[in-house]
């Protein structure tokens, strides 16, 4: 029953979020602020994570591909496919759900417990639209760029670390990257990223918006938001892979 209650309330919450902004000028200003807060501020983390992901995949493949019958360039190819299809989309989103999701829940939850949201309502402002709509647009806008950035730095990380540790030569690695490239995989992952961005911005917003109590409850809501967002990302990964790869 609790599950259905939350699902119902989540959709009625979304109906409130997606309504006409009070002032378009204010809406766009807030959206740009959120692109900075939630997106641009995540670039550093994305770069670091992607370099290490690319490097570790390359080293693992190099150390495990020991058969002389398998060409060495497969290491580069494998790294590329893993990054493009799963690591730079799903794994990155799982990690960003922690960073962006907890940020959104704690910000909105704190506003709820300190009556700032009530204060907006008293002024006749649709607080759900005012606070959350710009966040959703910002995250959906920035996620494809973060994905592209992640793929790029993941591949660079694999090249730099793989070659400097002597796991693969630069020529073999680059040959692997260029071998049997399927552009559709990029489109597929960008579509996935748009869904993940929606989940990462709406589920934590929902948990923050309906929090009751004090600081302890905001912390609990943040944790629930991240866990449930991660679960939904994995479920959507399964569904989208099934739908878009058939």
């Amino acid at each position: 029953m609790n599950f259905f209650f939350h699902v119902g309330r989540y959709f009625s919450f979304l109906a409130r979020v997606f309504s006409k902004p009070e002032r378009l000028k204010v809406f766009f200003r807030k959206t740009f602020q959120e692109i900075g807060n939630l997106g641009v501020n995540s670039v550093g983390l994305v770069i670091i994570m992607s370099i290490f992901m690319g490097a570790i995949i390359t080293l693992q493949m190099a150390y495990n591909l020991t058969s002389p019958f398998l060409p060495v360039f497969l290491i580069g190819l494998g790294n590329r496919e893993l990054l493009i299809l799963e690591f730079s989309s799903t794994i990155l989103s799982l990690l960003l759900a922690g960073k962006i999701g907890s940020n959104i829940t704690s910000e909105i939850g704190s506003m709820r417990v300190t009556e700032q949201i009530d204060s907006l309502e008293i002024m006749g402002i649709n607080s759900a639209e005012y606070l959350i709509f710009p966040k959703i647009i910002a995250v959906i806008f920035i996620f494809p760029f973060l994905y592209i950035l992640s793929v790029f730095f993941g591949l660079v990380g694999g090249l730099v670390i793989g070659t400097s540790f002597g796991a693969i030569s630069p020529t073999d690695y680059i040959n692997g990257l260029q071998h049997a490239f399927t552009p559709y995989y990029i489109s597929f992952s960008i579509i996935k990223m748009l869904f993940y961005a929606f989940l990462i911005s709406t589920i934590p917003s929902y948990y923050g918006y309906y929090v009751k109590g004090g600081a302890f409850d905001v912390g609990k809501a943040s944790m629930s938001a991240v866990v449930n967002t991660d679960i939904m990302i994995l479920i959507f990964d399964l569904i989208l892979t099934q739908l878009l790869f058939k």
Binding site: E115, Q116, D118, S119, E121, I122, M123, G124
Partner: protein
């Protein structure tokens, strides 16, 4: 004038407001008093529409808030100002941005006009210009309350609501806040409702006093009448401090 008729509100089948009918007069400071947990905040939040009532009517100058369409409620809310217990200032905005926030959203004033209005309101609540660029976390609790009052009056509301505006403040600052609310009520000729359990406020600015006990309207009258009340519960509430010291 605000009139409440047969108001009921419950949470999880527990009645918090029981058949409350009362009128709040224009140009006067109407004080709602009662012990913690008596239902004061629920009454105030029900009147402003933050809580949906189970039954009853709330009239804002003959306009029934309960039966209004959402768009009408939204328009009426632009006539309301509210000061919350903790101030509820937006912590990501500076003092002047907080006060200018309603102007930014609901008026088409120029930047200069907005700035003038913000300065006027902040000056009205005695906030010095050197604090205009400060964030709420950088100013004292008393100043936060004053900024909250400035924000509440920036759109020249017809109805002002204050939920325990003196909580957590020293007696001197409480006096300043009380006088400020009282002056604003008279100057703007608005209907003001204040939730409080501070008897000093009651005696200073209580033009009309409503005593709530266990979610029910127990007594109503003026500050002069409250001293002569025969109601035992109200006597106990009003003279709680005196009784304590006398028993000692």
């Amino acid at each position: 004038m605000i009139k409440v008729e047969k108001l009921y509100k419950s949470f999880d089948n527990k009645a918090v407001l029981k058949n409350i009918s009362v009128g709040f007069e224009k140009g006067k400071t109407n004080l709602v008093i009662g012990r913690s947990g008596s239902g004061k905040t629920v009454l105030l939040k029900s009147i402003v529409g933050l809580f949906q009532v189970d039954s009853g009517n709330i009239y804002y100058d003959q306009r029934n808030f309960v039966t209004m369409k959402p768009e009408e409620k939204k328009n009426l809310r632009k006539e309301m100002g509210m000061v919350f217990q903790g101030g509820a200032l937006f912590d990501s905005l500076t003092v002047e941005q907080n006060v200018g926030f309603p102007l930014e959203l609901f008026t088409k004033k120029t930047k200069l006009e907005k700035s003038k209005r913000v300065s006027f309101c902040l000056d009205r609540v005695n906030i010095k210009p050197e604090f205009f660029k400060s964030f709420p976390s950088e100013i004292s609790g008393g100043m936060q309350k004053r900024v909250a009052i400035a924000r509440a009056i920036v759109l020249e509301p017809h109805y002002l609501f204050c939920d325990e505006p003196n909580s957590g403040l020293d007696p001197e600052t409480s006096l300043v806040i009380d006088n400020l609310i009282h002056e604003i009520t008279i100057d703007l000729d608005i209907t003001t409702i204040i939730n409080t359990h501070d008897m000093n406020s009651v005696m200073r600015i209580g033009d009309k006093i409503i005593f709530i006990r266990d979610g029910q309207l127990q007594w109503e009258g003026t500050k002069n009448e409250i001293m002569k009340t025969e109601d035992k519960n109200l006597q106990h509430f009003v003279f709680a401090n005196n009784l304590y010291f006398r028993n000692k």
